[in-house]
């Protein structure tokens, strides 16, 4: 056990810190969930890419910098500490790319990954359906075989980024005879393809952060199926494990939020709120250290399995607590929005965003089932 950083890691971290210090825009970009902001964020991805920092842990051939997993975590810490813009490429970087790296063809990787790294193609995800949220295996959208490809039909919802993104990926039922997890396949499709109707959904801050996607016989060539048809569930679960595990929520974000929280007036008073602030700050540190522990394990050849559920529970509830405390410290001023809002509405916006944490990527109820059954070995079934 040695928790000191190596010289190489320190050099990497310092390089990232310095680049961010000189490049992060002084004024925040417009909201990612507006047409204008979306393009600003795309341009920012392109700047990151030019500096070799858009996908640091990827192979160089796809636009990465071949950083270690530990370095990626350090990168994320620096990124959030610098207050850099939200990642509009997030779905491509952290959900689709790991899937392609693991299950895609060489052709798919060569065609798609560089566009993600360069910020030229922005991806939405298309998992949920109105009747299949936590219970993803209950989905009904279908893909019918046709010449040289498939015709997708059905209704997808809570599709994040889809209001402005270029393409989307998701599961469709290719074998109508099969039930639940069987007979599903993994597709990629353009959001401007004939037959796709995108209806933006307003998040509870009023911004169109999701969309409903109505698909009516949308043609997808065989080249845009990931893995073998019918193998979609297994492939999606490997993505989901990524989504719920390390890659989606690195500790950097929560450390930065915790640090912001400590700077609010009253945060460090010896009051009930002050005590919760310190507890939340301790939790952010614990999440950081637990991540380093996981990274060490992976570096030694270990696997992250159901432990990802612990992460999801931990970060999503921590994020909510941090933002609730942020609001609490503002007192009645937190009630004001627009130009009157304290801290430019940072805590209000963050709070509304954090509310989604326990819901998406598998509700926390599902995560608790997974933790209880797979990690503690409690009986399955009866819930």
């Amino acid at each position: 056990m040695d928790l000191a950083l190596s010289d190489a890691d320190i050099a990497f971290r310092d390089h990232v810190r310095e680049w961010l210090r000189t490049n992060v825009p002084a004024e925040p970009l417009a909201s990612l969930e507006t047409a204008e902001g979306f393009e600003q964020h795309r341009a920012w991805e392109q700047r990151l890419h030019a500096a070799g920092l858009s996908a640091v842990s990827w192979p160089r051939e796809y636009g990465g910098a071949e950083a270690t997993l530990l370095q990626w975590v350090l990168f994320e810490e620096e990124y959030y500490a610098a207050g850099a813009p939200g990642r509009v490429s997030q779905n491509g970087l952290f959900l689709l790319a790991p899937t392609l790296l693991q299950n895609g063809t060489d052709e798919q990787r060569a065609r798609i990954l560089p566009e993600i790294a360069a910020g030229t193609e922005i991806w939405a995800q298309a998992w949920s359906e109105p009747g299949a949220g936590s219970d993803l295996a209950g989905l009904r959208s279908s893909a019918r075989r046709t010449d040289g490809g498939w015709l997708l039909s059905g209704l997808k919802t809570w599709s994040s980024r889809a209001a402005f993104a270029d393409r989307a990926f998701g599961l469709f039922r290719t074998d109508p005879e099969q039930q639940r997890h069987r007979g599903l396949s993994y597709f990629m499709f353009p959001l401007d393809a004939p037959g796709v109707t995108v209806r933006p959904i307003q998040r509870l801050d009023g911004k169109p952060a999701f969309a409903e996607l109505a698909l009516d016989e949308v043609f997808v060539p065989d080249a845009d199926v990931i893995g073998t048809p019918g193998d979609g569930w297994r492939i999606a679960m490997s993505t989901a494990s990524n989504e719920r595990g390390l890659t989606l929520r690195s500790p950097g974000r929560f450390l930065a939020t915790a640090r912001d929280l400590l700077r609010e007036p009253g945060a460090l008073d010896d009051t009930p709120t002050g005590e919760r602030v310190v507890d939340a700050w301790i939790d952010a540190q614990a999440y950081r250290l637990a991540t380093f522990e996981t990274v060490t394990k992976i570096a030694e050849g270990g696997q992250v399995g159901a432990e990802a559920s612990l992460n999801k529970l931990f970060w999503s509830e921590l994020d909510l607590e941090l933002h609730e405390l942020g609001l609490r410290l503002q007192g009645p001023l937190a009630e004001l929005t627009g130009p009157d809002a304290p801290a430019a509405g940072r805590w209000q916006d963050g709070h509304l965003f954090a509310l989604a944490g326990p819901i998406y990527a598998g509700t926390n109820e599902v995560q608790r089932n997974v933790a209880a059954e797979r990690l503690l070995g409690l009986p399955k079934g009866a819930r």
Partner: protein
């Protein structure tokens, strides 16, 4: 001792409940619409058909001469449906403030209009960084030749931009805090609160002409009374909403199926909903004890009102949070009602003292 409503009170409860449920107010405004949350039609029905604003106003001021308890029955019904409007701010809070000053002339001048619902009155009280205090205002009142003028900045004023009558809490040199009535229109700006079902605003006063209500130096006692009334009133709104919304959450979990079963059959969810029910019912008892106490002027009124505010806000917040979580994706969209409760629970917490502040008051009391 009798905890039950009279038949007349039950009737009022029923009528107010129907009126509130029929309220034409679109519960979910489009996000870009930051316009007023005021529901003109419901206000007219309340005023003209039900005479609700007159309930707690004594007959000598053209009121119906019932008690504050009856007003709270109506307020609970309005709160349950998140109906916007000045019922809390004008006929409850501001009218009670006028009554608390003991100023008969002011009563004659102001209360008939408030009781009829024709005039809307607001109480400008909080200042930046000084939330609903008993005194220590930055806003000053100066007397010259028998005329008062006020200078200061008031925030979180309910219905500020809509008010026909503005009462202001200000500090008079030598005699301390007192309540004043502005005698000329003031500079008010509407805020855009997170909870769009309330209207909040700011008032800026620069040597604004005003009249003193009651006697000099009575401000602290009046404001303590106002805080108890306001705390009980907000508690009533919050618990009304919690007790209407919880069964709707329950109903949703009975129809929403995942993993081949209604999600309301999952034990973990059942237990959390049971906890919400426990908290809500306990807070409800406190709420009505507080309402009885503020209505009768019981010596425990301030204490009970602080307790009710604390308990009802916490209970509603818990219900609102479960409402979001249990509705899943729907819960985090603008289109669904769930977020309105979350925001309403937050604004209720903040107004007239957070639960934490009311706990502090209990510490002192």
């Amino acid at each position: 001792m009798d905890f039950t409503f009279t038949d007349e009170q039950r009737q009022l409860q029923e009528i107010a409940g129907k009126l509130a449920a029929r309220s034409g107010h679109p519960r979910v405004l489009p996000p870009e619409d930051t316009s007023s949350a005021f529901d003109e039609q419901t206000w007219q029905l309340l005023s003209e058909q039900l005479g609700a604003p007159s309930l707690a106003v004594p007959e000598r001021f053209d009121g119906a001469g019932y008690g504050l308890l009856e007003s709270m029955i109506v307020l609970e019904a309005l709160g349950a449906q998140l109906v916007p409007g000045p019922f809390l701010g004008s006929p409850i809070l501001t009218a009670q403030a006028v009554l608390a000053t003991g100023d008969e002339q002011a009563g004659q001048r102001l209360l008939p209009g408030i009781a009829s619902g024709e005039r809307i009155a607001a109480l400008a009280w909080s200042e930046p960084g000084n939330d609903w205090p008993e005194g220590g205002f930055d806003c000053t009142a100066t007397e010259r030749d028998g005329e008062w003028s006020l200078t200061g900045h008031k925030v979180h004023v309910l219905d500020a931009a809509r008010a026909d009558v503005l009462l202001v809490a200000a500090e008079a040199a030598g005699t301390g805090p007192a309540l004043f009535e502005l005698t000329a229109p003031a500079r008010t700006t509407a805020s855009v609160p997170m909870d769009r079902t309330r209207e909040l605003g700011e008032v800026r006063l620069d040597a604004a002409p005003a009249r003193l209500l009651g006697s000099a130096g009575c401000g602290a006692a009046v404001l303590r009374r106002c805080r108890a009334v306001a705390a009980a009133a907000v508690a009533t709104e919050q618990i009304g909403a919690a007790r209407r919304w919880l069964p709707e959450i329950v109903a949703y979990t009975k129809t929403r199926e995942q993993f081949g079963r209604p999600i309301g059959s999952f034990q973990a969810l059942k237990h959390r909903l049971a906890d919400c029910h426990v908290a809500t019912e306990a807070a409800y008892s406190l709420c009505w004890a507080a309402n009885w106490a503020v209505s009768t002027g019981d010596e425990q009124a301030e204490q009970l009102a602080s307790m009710a505010k604390s308990a009802c806000c916490e209970a509603y917040s818990a219900v609102a949070a479960e409402g979001v979580q249990m509705h899943g994706g729907l819960g985090i969209t603008w289109e669904h009602e769930a977020h309105l409760h979350l925001k309403r629970a937050h604004s209720g917490q903040q107004l007239f003292g957070t639960p934490r502040r009311h706990r502090e008051l209990l510490h002192r009391g």
